[in-house]
Amino acid sequence: MPGSVQSLERAAAILQVVAGSGGTLGVTDIAAAVGLPKTTAHSLLRTLLGVRFVEQDREGRYALGPGLLRLGAAHLDVNELRSRGSNWTDALASRSGHAVRLATLDREQVRVVHHVFRPDDSVQVLDVGAVLPADRTALGTVLLAFAPHRSVRGAVDARRADVAAVRARGWAVEDGGHEPGTAGLAAPVRGSTGLVVAALGISGPAESVLDRQHQARPLLVSMVVESAQAISRELGWHG
């Protein structure tokens, strides 16, 4: 297998043995099963313990760990996200008087996964599935600022000095970058592991989202941040 990494192959073999043993094997048996010296097996197992892919009982026997089990459940389906968030997004639209959107990072694009109309019964069109400009919307700013991968964040890191500020204060504001006269506020939504899985935001006429000094209205900021936290709790985050 050209280009394969030997230690990763060995770790995978160890995980297969541990998974198959049902928590009955110690380091000696595992080393024998994968054909490795005990010291090598031991150091690989210690690394796996460190990332909680395996765990060890009092007798020194190994079983699959919670980190590995959570790996399979970490993916959050966007339709699940909409369903779990919808009570909070409706309440946010109702209380703030603005249109509400939930967006996720779909590869490197910011995609709307849920949209609640501005509660004034004017003609509005659902834009679920639409792609937003990442660097010119509050939703995009939040998603890029909190993205776990550098490669995605690069664009916004280069353009802006305030990514750190967005991360520190926990919300973003955008004034007219996407549509002139329109402003937006957004805050991060975290999944059960604490990773940011979505951004929740409101948008509307700049004069209603911002005050006369073009600053975000504090009441709206707290509504958005609290709603985003409520959805995070709904998703199982207890940070």
């Binding site: 389906d77 966007v78 339709n79 699940e80 909409r82 369903s83 779990r84 919808s86 009570n87 409706d90 309440a91 639209a93 109702s94 209380r95 849920h114 949209h115 609640v116 109309f117 509660p119 004034d120 019964d121 509005q124 069109v125 659902l126 679920v128």
Partner: protein, 501 residues
């Protein structure tokens, strides 16, 4: 900011919810408690009325406490309830003589077929507006009188009281054995088969037909109007609104004009269309029911189309087949393909309700080829709910002659964009979702608040209603689905034929 608020109790099939709403129709606090489901024999479903009464007191107290910091005076209490569930209790002790017989319970099937075979059976449809069916409360009351020791004798002596859940709760809230008010609202009374659907009074001919003594029946009252004062929740609160849950959802969706309709997509789906103050005689498979009545005003009627399996089919895909991990994931799976691949699912798990009313029908998956994947199956599952909505809407249009301006939707499945767009296309009608998804409890709150003047009239309620989303039909897709409808109808015919012998 102290504002006047309303407490709504939604006494549902699986839980009791107490919700405080403000004057803007916005949710202030909510508490919920599930109650135990008893399945003593196949087809039997029971609830413990004492447990439900305890849950009502507890959740109401909690919701009022949660709201106390932000809300002002609680000016009214409204109740929406699971319909047709039957309670019979001792007037002196307040103890039920047996557990409540739930609307899903089918123990009266034999009784109902015996009654339906009687030469005078036509009086039921003529006077109650509905065919004889085990779905309604009257046969369940008869069952209690026939099977609980001494029940008939005690009922005739005036020792027992009958009610659906709102009757039971109002009686307890207003003092129980100590002066409790024994009343039902006109929507709940219309679901017993014992009420004259024109005069909205207990019908002596129907009472005679079903063998029910008048002595144990509650007084029939309007849905909106003073019933009594709840003294069991700390400070006294006037009880001023009661509605069956589906009628409450119609009220909460502000469907006050003839033609306006709502559909609640839950385990099953329930479509109700306001038909105004004239009772519609149905021929096409929808049923006539009372929508609501404001005190001192004429009764408003509705057509109703109940579909037994909607969200339950998605649950089956999840729990029965294991194709998805959570119900919302069906949309992800369905979007892996462009169409249903020729596959149709008819979810007649225990027969078909409206508009077919074929208890013998059984579910089927039709059109399987090796081309069909789980994605196509997921599409077919969602489309089944859309097609069934279309069948009900067509039946209603035939019965009422009213056009559907748009369909107002609520319930868990309304976050599924693929399904909602399909419903819009298959009906060729806009589908709109309101900002407050809790339409059942909101309807109870509206009814109660209207009676005490918190809202001036139904127009004020209409102004509270706001769209949170709208799905508009795509003309080309609507035409395509209209052409596809006979294929769905063929699948329905096959499901009926499958169960026929």
């Amino acid at each position: 900011m102290a504002d006047r608020v309303v407490l709504a109790v939604d006494q549902g099939t699986t839980s009791t919810r107490s919700i405080v709403f403000d004057r803007g129709g916005r949710l202030v606090s909510v508490r919920q408690r599930e109650h135990r489901q008893y399945f003593p024999r196949p087809g039997w479903v029971e609830h413990d009325p004492m447990e439900i009464w305890a849950n009502t007191q507890r959740t109401a107290a909690q919701a009022l406490r949660d709201a106390a910091s932000s809300a002002g005076e609680v000016v009214a209490l409204g109740i929406a309830n699971q319909r047709e569930t039957t309670v019979v209790w001792d007037r002196a002790t307040g103890r039920p003589v047996t557990r409540a017989i739930v609307w899903q319970d089918t123990r009266t099937a034999d009784l109902v077929s015996r009654l339906a075979a009687r030469p005078d059976a036509a009086v039921v449809r003529e006077r109650s507006g509905m065919d004889i069916a085990g779905y309604f409360a009257g046969p369940r009351l008869r069952w209690v009188l026939d099977h609980v020791p001494r029940a008939r004798e005690r009922a005739e002596a005036g020792e027992l009281l009958f009610g659906t859940m709102e009757t039971w709760l109002v009686w307890n809230l207003t003092g129980g054995p100590d002066g409790g008010v024994h009343v039902t609202d006109v929507t709940n009374a219309s679901r017993t088969s014992l009420m004259d659907c024109r005069s909205c009074t207990w019908d002596p001919v129907l009472l005679d037909f079903f063998g029910i003594p008048a002595a144990l029946l509650p007084e029939i009252r309007p849905s909106v109007g003073e019933l009594g004062t709840a003294t069991a929740l700390g400070s006294p609160i006037p009880i001023t609104g009661t509605l069956g849950d589906q009628q409450a959802a119609l009220f909460g969706q502000a469907c006050f004009a003839p033609g306006e309709a709502k559909c609640t997509y839950g385990t099953g789906s329930f479509l109700l269309q306001n038909t105004g103050t004239e009772l519609v005689r149905t021929r096409s498979g929808s049923i006539s029911t009372v929508a609501y009545q404001l005190a001192g005003e004429p009764v408003h009627y509705a057509l109703e189309g109940s579909v037994a399996v909607a969200g339950a089919l998605v649950q089956w895909l999840r729990d029965g087949l294991g194709l998805i991990g959570t119900a919302p994931e069906i949309e992800t799976l369905a979007r892996t393909v462009e169409d249903n691949g020729g596959c149709y699912v008819v979810p007649a798990f225990s027969g078909l309700l409206a508009p077919h009313w074929r208890g013998e029908a059984r579910g089927l998956v039709a059109g399987l080829t090796s081309y069909v994947t789980k994605g196509h199956l997921a599409r077919a599952v969602l489309e089944a709910t859309g097609w069934q909505t279309r069948d009900v809407v067509l039946a209603m249009a035939a019965d009422s002659g009213l056009q559907l301006p748009s369909l107002r939707v609520d319930g868990g499945m309304t976050t599924n964009n693929l399904l909602m767009q399909f419903v819009a296309d298959v009906l060729d009608t806009p589908v709109v979702r309101p900002m407050v998804g809790e339409t059942v409890s909101l309807g109870a709150a509206y009814a109660a608040g209207l009676a005490v003047g918190l809202w001036a009239d139904v127009e004020a309620l209409r102004r509270n209603w706001h769209r949170s989303a709208q799905w508009s039909p795509v003309p080309a897709r609507a035409a395509q689905l209209a052409a596809e409808h006979p294929t769905w109808e063929k699948a329905v015919r096959l499901s009926i034929a499958w169960g026929a012998d």
